[in-house]
């Protein structure tokens, strides 16, 4: 029988090794799997490469992982925010490597990894600093940059509900990077607000089919605590 559910977040992330590449879902705090990240901080893995849209907000989740100096390199599109002080400090001290990727290329490179695409030509970034040194090509009169997949050892994602096969549904704009990251990692770990019986999710509305998910852990969230309040006005 297939049962991808695990009992605790600690168990779910136990085998993340030093030096692993870890994708972490979320756009700011929406969709950020904070409890999995907290467990990863407690677990102690070091020298991580993190893939996320941002570089941590305030004093929660990814920001704390950075503060704990567990991250060697971050691949993201928008590190600098009004509340990204932990990243900012590390970056200014030269204690973290940054690979800055335009958000659409970040998403497409992650999707390419999951979809078995070797590389692709994207118009985004052509002629800019972020395409320096990259191969370019004119196709049908338009200029493109060659970009390669971003693969990961682990993906940590947050979803609304999941079942024992690993099928996932998300909630509103907390979906963001979850589905594509789930497809791009050797081992995808999902924290969900509730584990539901097999068959409870509408097969027409499953967003991440279970084939992309390896572990599902239920994280009980207090109603008042269902997400961390966003920091209004911080940019994309």
């Amino acid at each position: 029988m297939i049962d991808k559910t695990v009992a605790t977040v600690a168990e779910a992330i136990a085998d993340i090794h030093d030096g692993a590449t870890v994708m972490i879902g979320g756009f700011g705090t929406a969709g950020m799997p904070s409890e999995l990240i907290d467990a990863l901080i407690a677990q102690g893995a070091r020298e991580l490469t993190i893939v996320n849209n941002n570089a941590g907000n305030g004093d929660v989740g990814l920001a704390l992982l950075l503060e704990a100096k567990r991250v060697r390199k971050i691949i993201c599109s928008f590190p600098r925010q009004t509340d990204s002080w932990h990243f900012d400090a590390l970056y200014r001290k030269g204690e973290i490597e940054l690979e800055l990727v335009p958000q659409g290329n970040l998403a497409e490179r992650i999707r390419a990894a999951g979809a078995g695409i070797g590389a692709f030509y994207t118009p985004t970034g052509y002629g800019t600093l972020l395409a320096e040194g990259k191969e370019t090509r004119e196709i049908d009169g338009r200029q493109y940059v060659l970009e390669h997949p971003i693969r990961a050892d682990f993906a940590l994602v947050k979803a609304l509900a999941g079942d024992r096969w690993g099928n996932l549904v998300y909630r509103k704009t907390a979906r963001n990077f979850g589905p594509i990251m789930a497809s791009a990692a050797r081992c995808t770990i999902a924290q969900v607000q509730r584990i539901v019986p097999l068959g409870a999710l509408d097969p027409e509305a499953v967003v991440t089919p279970g084939i992309f998910v390896h572990r599902v852990v239920e994280v009980v969230v207090e109603a008042a605590n269902a997400g961390t309040a966003p920091a209004p006005g911080t940019a994309t």
Partner: protein, 211 residues
């Protein structure tokens, strides 16, 4: 010198967005455009973090941390909205499906090059987000910005000195002094603030502007 207010600029942009358009409003000044969309037009707002059919900010106390815009501010979803993941969202942009996006800028060149992501300062922490995808993805790219920097230099330039976001992507520029169209033959003034002449506008801008 007369200047358009920010709300006048936003209203002027809104007037140029047609009924039924799919539109992405960038962070900052462009967000104001949402307040001025004509009531008799139905315009569908896209936010790159995975929502079409974005509605206004929620009532105080009704914020949902899972329902935010690209600026990470709480928003609402209208009837007819849809949610999707990031690869699908940027496919909409890169694939040319948006009719229009409205962006802020540091500089725009006479050829429509846009610089709006990086000041190029050596100690700045770079961050790009979706700016590059937006700049080249939409069918029309409208820039909203002050015409001059605080020190009086023109933000409309022969060639961008800041790092560019995308080349030859801007269609129109809405400033506190004028509305300019980027054409193959250079900039053309569509509107100028009352009391400012075209020659004076060109002089302030430091570039040629046609009528």
């Amino acid at each position: 010198m007369n200047r358009y207010t920010r709300d006048q600029m936003a209203a002027r942009v809104a007037q140029d967005i047609r009924d039924g358009a799919y539109v992405n409003l960038g962070i900052g000044l462009p967000t104001l455009v949402a307040n001025h969309l004509p009531k008799d037009r139905e315009i569908i707002l896209h936010t790159e973090n995975g929502l079409l059919g974005m509605g206004p900010a929620p009532a105080p106390g009704a914020e949902d941390p899972d329902l935010i815009n690209a600026g990470k501010q709480p928003v609402t979803a209208l009837p007819g909205a849809s949610f999707f993941h990031h690869a699908d969202s940027f496919a909409m942009m890169r694939g040319g499906h948006l009719d229009c996006c409205v962006l802020g800028a540091f500089q725009v060149s006479v050829e429509g090059d846009l610089a709006n992501w990086h000041t190029g300062a050596p100690d700045a922490i770079p961050a790009v987000g979706g700016a590059m995808d937006l700049a080249l993805g939409a069918k029309s790219v409208y820039v909203m910005m002050e015409h001059l920097t605080k020190s009086g230099e023109s933000k409309i330039v022969s060639q961008c000195t800041y790092p560019v976001t995308a080349l030859r992507c801007v269609s129109r520029i809405y400033t506190d002094l004028a509305v300019l169209e980027v054409t193959p033959r250079g900039l053309r003034a569509v509107d100028i603030v009352d009391g400012l002449s075209l020659p004076e506008l060109a002089r302030l801008s430091g570039v040629a502007i046609g009528s």
